[in-house]
C-alpha cells in the first residue's frame, strides 16, 4: 500500500529529527555496555573466591548483559517518548489530520521505532558481549559455543520488546509522566522483587521482563525450575506486548484526539 510507505518515511523523519532519540538510545548503549564490562571485570577478580556451585552454574554470556537491567530503563524512556512526544505537544492532532487511518499511523510509528531499536539493540548486544568476554579473561564464552549466539541476538530482541511494550503503554496512557511513572518502578523494582521473593516467584516469572530475559541465559541457574525455555520466555513477553498494543490501538482508534 502506497500510504504505508509514505507514512513510514514520515515517521522516520519524525524520529530522526528530535534530540531525545539520540540521547535515550545513546544512554541505553553506553550504560548497558559499560556496566556490563565493570561487572564482568569485578566477577573475574572474585571468581576464584566463589563457592563451587556458583562456579559450575557460571554463565559468562549472561554476565556480560548485567548492564541490561539499567540500560533497559533508557529504552523504556525512548519507547515512551516516541509516542508521548505526539501527545505532550499537540502534534497528535496535526499527525492524525495528515494520516487519519489511525491503525496505519500506529503501525508505521511502531515499525519505524522498533526497527531502529532493534538495530541499536543488536549493536549494543554484540558490543556488550565482546567487551564483557574480554573483561572476563579466561572464564569467557565464545560466540560459537552452544546457545551463545541465540543469547546475544536475544539481548537485542529483549531490548526491542521492552521498547515496544513501553510504546504500547504510552499509547494507552498518552502522558509521558504517567507512563514513565508506572513503567520505570515496575521494571526496575517491582518486577525484580516479585521475581526474587520465593512466595511470589511463581507469578513474578510470568512478568514480561522476567520471562523475556530468559532468552539471554545460556547456562541455567542452580535449582532452576522455570517452566519455560529461552524462546518460551520470549514468547510470554511477546504476548504481553501484543496485548498492550491491541489495547493501545483500540483506545487510539476510539477516542478523540
Amino acid at each position: 500500500m502506497a500510504v504505508v510507505g509514505q507514512v513510514l518515511r514520515a515517521e522516520w523523519v519524525k524520529i530522526r529529527s528530535v534530540r531525545s532519540t539520540v540521547w535515550t538510545l545513546g544512554t541505553a548503549v553506553v550504560v548497558t555496555v559499560v556496566l556490563g564490562v565493570v561487572i564482568c571485570t569485578l566477577t573475574r577478580k572474585d571468581f576464584d573466591g566463589m563457592p563451587e556451585e556458583r562456579r559450575l552454574a557460571f554463565d559468562p554470556t549472561n554476565m556480560s548483559f548485567a548492564g541490561m537491567g539499567l540500560g533497559q530503563l533508557a529504552m523504556i524512556v525512548f519507547g515512551v517518548l516516541v509516542v508521548s512526544n505526539e501527545y505532550g505537544t499537540g502534534m497528535i492532532r496535526t499527525s492524525l489530520a495528515a494520516v487519519p487511518q489511525r491503525g496505519v499511523f500506529l503501525f508505521c510509528k511502531m515499525l519505524v521505532a522498533t526497527s531502529l531499536v532493534f538495530a541499536v539493540g543488536l549493536a549494543t548486544s554484540f558490543a556488550a558481549f565482546f567487551a564483557g568476554q574480554a573483561a572476563l579473561g579466561g572464564h569467557r564464552a565464545h560466540l560459537g559455543d552452544p546457545g551463545v549466539l541465540r543469547a546475544v541476538v536475544g539481548g537485542a530482541l529483549y531490548m526491542t520488546m521492552i521498547a515496544l511494550f513501553s510504546m504500547a503503554v504510552a499509547t494507552m496512557l498518552r502522558s509521558p509522566m504517567l507512563s514513565l511513572g508506572i513503567l520505570m518502578p515496575f521494571f526496575f523494582l517491582i518486577s525484580n522483587i516479585l521475581g526474587n521473593v520465593s512466595a511470589t516467584r511463581r507469578i513474578g516469572r510470568y512478568l514480561p521482563d522476567q520471562a523475556g530475559s530468559k532468552i539471554m541465559q545460556v547456562v541455567a541457574p542452580v535449582n532452576d525450575e522455570t517452566p519455560y525455555g529461552p524462546w518460551g520466555g520470549f514468547g510470554i513477553m511477546a504476548v504481553w506486548t501484543v496485548a498492550a498494543l491491541l489495547v493501545g490501538y483500540l483506545l487510539l482508534d476510539k477516542r478523540d484526539a
Partner: protein
Amino acid sequence: MIELMGLTKHYGDKVAVDGLTFTVRPGIVTGFLGPNGAGKSTTMRMVLGLDNPTAGAVRIYGRHYRQLKDPLRYVGALLDAKAMHGGRSAANHLLCLARSNGIPRTRVDEVLHLVGLTSVARKRSKGFSLGMGQRLGIAAALLGDPRILMFDEPVNGLDPEGIHWIRHLMKNLAAQGRTVFVSSHLMSEMALTAEHLVVIGQGRLLADTSMAEFIRQNSRSYVRLRSPDRERLLDVLHRAGVRAVAGRGGVLEVDGVPAERLGELAAAQQVVLHELSPQQASLEEAFMQLTAGAVEYHAHNGGRPGPGRGMPPRPVVPERALSGGAPPGGWGAGWQRKRS
C-alpha cells in the same frame, strides 16, 4: 466544499455542538463566528475526523475525512499553532507532514518562503514567537495545495502586520476558488474578511447568511440629538411627526430621518442643539445581541441559571434596540421565534 449534516457532539452531559447543518462553499471566505466556548473548535476537529461526532456527519466533497487519500491535498487546517513538537525544526516539521501525504520535498521550501520563514527553517520551533508559530501552522495548512482551508482563530495573538498578512492571504485563497473556513470570536475581524457568515452560540446554529445581508439587517443608522431644552425639542419633533427615543445620558435618538432635516426643524423653532450626529450601530453589538439570545434561551428553557459555560456575561441590550418592539436585526428574534 464542506457539508455538515446534523453534526452533534456531547461530552458527558454537556452538549458542545448541537445539530449543526450548513455548507461551506468554495470561492469565498466563510466566517465561523461565536463566543468563546460556542463549539467552533470542536466543530472543526470533527471536520478533520479528530473527534468523533455523537450524531450527524461531515462530508468533504461528498466523502468522510478518513476516506480521503492524502488528506492534506484536500484540506489544510490550522487548528492550534502549538500543535507541533517544539524540538523539531520548522523544515523537518513540514517535511514529515509532506512525506506522509506524498508531497514532494521542494514544496516544503515553497511554503516556508510563502509564509516568510525561510531564514528560520532550520531552527527548532520551540523558540518561535506566537506569530512565527502561527505562520508555520499556516505553512503546514498550505503544504498540500488543498482546495479547502480551515483556520481556527488565526489572528489570535498576532501583531498588526501579521493580522494584515493573514487577512490578505485568506482573501487571496478564496479568490483562487478555494473554500476558506475561518473561525473567530470577533465580529469586527469577520466583517473585514468574510463574505459569508455562520454564527453559532452554545453549539447551535444562529445564523447562516451572507455578510452583506447581515450588515443590512443588523447595522441600524440613527441620529443622536442633545439639547439643553430637551422637553421643547421632543415637542417640536413630535409635532413634526418624528418619533424620538430616549437614549442614555439624556440624549434623543431618531431613526430614519436625515440629520439635515432634524437640524432644520430645530433651527426653525430656535431650539438650541449641543449635538446633532448621525450614528451607526456596530456589528459587534448586533452579534452580541444575537449570541446573547442563545444564552437567554438556555437560561429560560434549559433550567440552567445564568449564562452557560465560557460565555461572556449577557450584554446589556441598548435601550434603543427595544424601542421598536423587536430588535432591529431580526436575526436573534427570528431565531427565537423559530425555537420557542
